[in-house]
Symmetry: C2
Subunit: 282 residues, 2 copies
Amino acid sequence: MQSLINGQPTNLISIADRGFQYGDGCFETVRVAGAHPVLLEAHLNRLENSCQQLGIPLPLTTLMQEIEQLLLSNNWPHAVLKITITRGVGGRGYRPDPHGQSNRIVQLFAYSTAESPADGNGIEPGVSVMLCQHRLSSNRALAGMKHLNRLDQVLASREIPEQFAEGLCMDQAGYLVEGCKSNLVLLRGDKLITPDLSESGVNGIMLQYLLNRFREDGLTVESARVSFEELNDIGEAFLCNSVFGVWPVIKLSGNATVFSWPVGSKTQQAIHYKNEIFNAAR
Amino acid sequence: MQSLINGQPTNLISIADRGFQYGDGCFETVRVAGAHPVLLEAHLNRLENSCQQLGIPLPLTTLMQEIEQLLLSNNWPHAVLKITITRGVGGRGYRPDPHGQSNRIVQLFAYSTAESPADGNGIEPGVSVMLCQHRLSSNRALAGMKHLNRLDQVLASREIPEQFAEGLCMDQAGYLVEGCKSNLVLLRGDKLITPDLSESGVNGIMLQYLLNRFREDGLTVESARVSFEELNDIGEAFLCNSVFGVWPVIKLSGNATVFSWPVGSKTQQAIHYKNEIFNAAR
């Protein structure tokens, strides 16, 4: 792992940083393919929006220079870039200094395409996933944002045994939201359905990219509240995130039920859209 | 601020620490009075329970030695001791290494009794508080715990202007939960009421100490869902936490309403209970 903190090569930060004390910040995880950060503009847009919602200043031009500096100095063809913005160093107490300076942390991780059980360039073989018992927090003011309060994802992912590639999480009311580290897309009839993200979950960059591509191609895409039982009516399912791209879900286990789905035409289309941006970058 | 990380005097931690990456940990804030950590045993019990719930190993004996080391080497009569346990250093990804080693961070902050607007030893003059717009996350699995995911408290406390000592927060359904940094206790008829903490909020050590004392003295103490409007029926209100102890609430502003309460006999009793442990330590 290589890292810059406010432009300086170090991996040490003060325990007085509010990111450490309170998870007071937000982050982005960006796939680097062909030494190029995929969908970087969309990631930086979301980061800007998150910082604005949290009231954290973001010196975007400086940050972009630091990202370029880290990418150029390593020049890894495949990598994962993590960008974290915190509210910076503060004293004891939740209330932030309104004139505080944020901290910028840029990290580069080695990435092997072998990390992903379904990360080829053709028709991915698909993954088995499970339903987690841990339920995500509900909070309209934080939903959608990729903030640093990630205990839900940590606790849910602790439940996943080796044989499952991912776990699906429900919200407090028992509706499906997303995977621990990915968004869920379902085919119901001739419509794509993605669980409602207005109270829980992360509004993924890869999710939005794929849904926009589907919409441009004339498909109806809807956000809905979906219960586990309603998965009976689903024809295809896939997971997506910015690092692995698209994983077809061929098996889902939970509540003493096992759903099986084919790697159908919409999932293949999603893989195609994903390949366009992952390969264009190569 | 003085600090030890795993027993070593430093204030720098790796950005790979999962506390920094995900808020993956928990903490305690302990008042030091007369160089003695007040209610330390109760704090360590809660910390043990939180670590157990999160699945984070806690080497309690070592931690207690480090706390003693930090207190003795500084010997400040008044201070605030903060104890943080994180899941330790990890790679990229939410899923923790089941064999990972936790990190122990012990910090000592200077504390002046002048910090508190109502921290005398007699009948405190009381504070004015407001109702925050930001609502706390709902999550049955995390409620009560003092974990490191504190964006709710940060965002709510940003709303509080100088003239208010504290802000009250509601849950997603609109019921009162607690202050940003304190618990709320109300007198309704001849019963003490404290908002239900099973879906949101922190189960405070000072709160539990005071409620136990009231129960021992024969008072009925109940946890209940309380709406802002129901405060009409309240005779007294006070806030409590481990650092400032007890703050009588004499004025509460919110929803175009102002409630005023006297510093009544139950609030005075709470101050008396608090003084017993704060002064015993001197």
